[in-house]
Amino acid sequence: MKSSTYISGLPWILPALLFLVVIVYYSIISTFNLSTLDWNGLDPIRTSVGMKNFAKMLKDRVFWLCLKNTVIYFGITFVVQNTLGFLFAAILHSQVKLSTLHKCIIFIPTILAPATMAPVFRLLFSPQGMLQSVFNSLHLPITVDWLANPNSALFVLMAVAIWEFTGMSFILYYAAMSQVDKQILEAARIDGAGNIRTLITMVLPHCKGTTVSLAMLGIIGALKTFDIPYLITTGGPNHATEFLGTYIYRQGIRQSHLGYAAALSVTLLVLAIGGALASNYSKKGD
């Protein structure tokens, strides 16, 4: 009898593979093809323009703005969300009361759809919202119109993203911390290391694998960002919260510049694969 290792696995992987090829690879190839055309989706004439869509992209101020927004968004959300997630995990691993309640409150945002929460955030950060009433009752001279202001709108979206994804960072750090050797921490304490120092010099390095995984998720997530900006600000005001996803949607679906949208899509795909490979490489570099 043949050992199982020599039984052909092709019939087992082929259904999944064909499914992905038909839907995903077909779309990728057709996007590459579209990116060399000037086409509005309806016109029977599709003009081939070679690399002109890409040349146009490099001169497009909004394209660079999308990249800038993505970098700022990733940088700030990555640091804040993971610091908070790490601290929550550390505190909830200590002997505190009501830990299940706190866990649930931090985790619930990760399962709620951005589409469900978007109207809430639009209200919360408007002059009719709860924040404004709190400021008013404290007699603070602050006007909450942060979504209408191009300088603050991006930060509001980051706050929303941090609200939504801290639960993810928390749960991963929480799982990683369960494997920290308590005796080593005890030994460090006997040597006189305080809580903060033990946390930074011993627990944080132990969780390095988790941090790298979160960085990879964060990079891909920032590049893919669509729901939050589209639903809360639709990329405005004046492109201040535009991301590649929302810009592709604007160009392709709203304005029927299919060729240009495809060129942006190809760029987005290349960046996402590059980002994933780079963070995967840094993981192996350990």
């Binding site: 109207p119 709860m130 921490l185």
Partner: protein
């Protein structure tokens, strides 16, 4: 992780935790307070009386069930094949799947729109189920493969010596042993299918084919910016999700952990 002995420090730590958690509650409080503005609970009655809520929920449930069925079948078989069986050029095939892991859904829109219209699948639930499943698969195949690799080969060999064919090995040995990862895969897929927004927005047009994530938009049109009704609809969408989470808490958390630590 923190060692606090004195009473004062214990209270301090508890206080820090409380202060850190409050911001996570604020949007939820705003949602509930906002939904009760104006005429209070009457807002919920108005939203319910439109009759669209059960329809939107039904469609979301059908889509989620369809996506879960596809993802489960494809990830369990492919995970097994990749981990335990002989495939020539296995890693090349696996890379093909991993590349799709990074794919933003916005890239799929135009090509799928054209294809679905040709195949008369535009404005059917399939137009959402198929791509949502495809976007989910790379990740779940990865999880299933990793988990299968941890199952000792001896168990399979023993079953084969007892006369089981490979299909029986799969159903009688592998499937029972992969239950933990299967439940994680199902929960992760459920969250993503239930929360899907962009594909339903574009590929479903008929009013009786809409899904829960499109409820706020529907009420924006229906009640021209009467925020209280829109928020009442949001609360009604959030409650089943929160309930499901509280009931299946452990599975959700396992799903998330499995999802990120690959």
């Amino acid at each position: 992780m923190f060692e606090v002995r004195s009473k004062k420090n214990k209270i301090l730590l508890q206080l820090i935790l409380f202060i850190m958690t409050v911001p996570y509650l604020i949007p939820l409080i705003q949602m509930v307070l906002g939904s009760l503005g104006g005429r209070g609970l009457y807002n919920y009655k108005v939203v319910w009386d439109t009759g669209v809520v059960p329809i939107y929920f039904r469609n979301s449930a059908i889509i989620s069930a369809g996506v879960i069925a596809l993802v489960y079948a494809f990830s369990m078989t492919a995970g097994f094949g990749f981990a335990k069986l002989h495939v020539k050029g296995k890693e090349y095939f696996f890379w093909m799947i991993l590349i799709a892991l990074t794919l933003p859904e916005v890239i799929l829109l135009t090509p799928l729109f054209v294809t679905f219209q040709k195949l008369h699948m535009y404005n059917t639930l399939f137009a959402v189920i198929l791509p949502t499943a495809a976007l989910q698969l790379p990740f779940t195949i990865l999880l299933a493969r990793k988990f299968n690799e941890g199952i000792p080969g001896e168990l399979m060999e023993a079953a084969r010596i007892d006369g089981a064919n490979i299909w029986q090995v799969f159903t009688q040995v592998i499937l029972p042993m992969t239950k933990p990862i299967a439940s994680a895969i199902i929960v992760l897929t459920l969250i993503n299918a239930w929360n899907a927004y962009l594909l339903p927005l574009l590929f479903l047009q008929s009013p009786n084919l809409q899904v829960v994530t499109l409820l706020p938009q529907y009420f924006q049109g229906e009640f021209t910016n009467d925020q209280t009704k829109i928020l009442a609809a949001a609360v009604m969408t959030a409650i089943p999700e929160i309930t499901a989470y509280l009931l299946l808490q452990k599975n959700f958390e396992k799903g998330m952990i499995a999802g990120a630590l690959k």
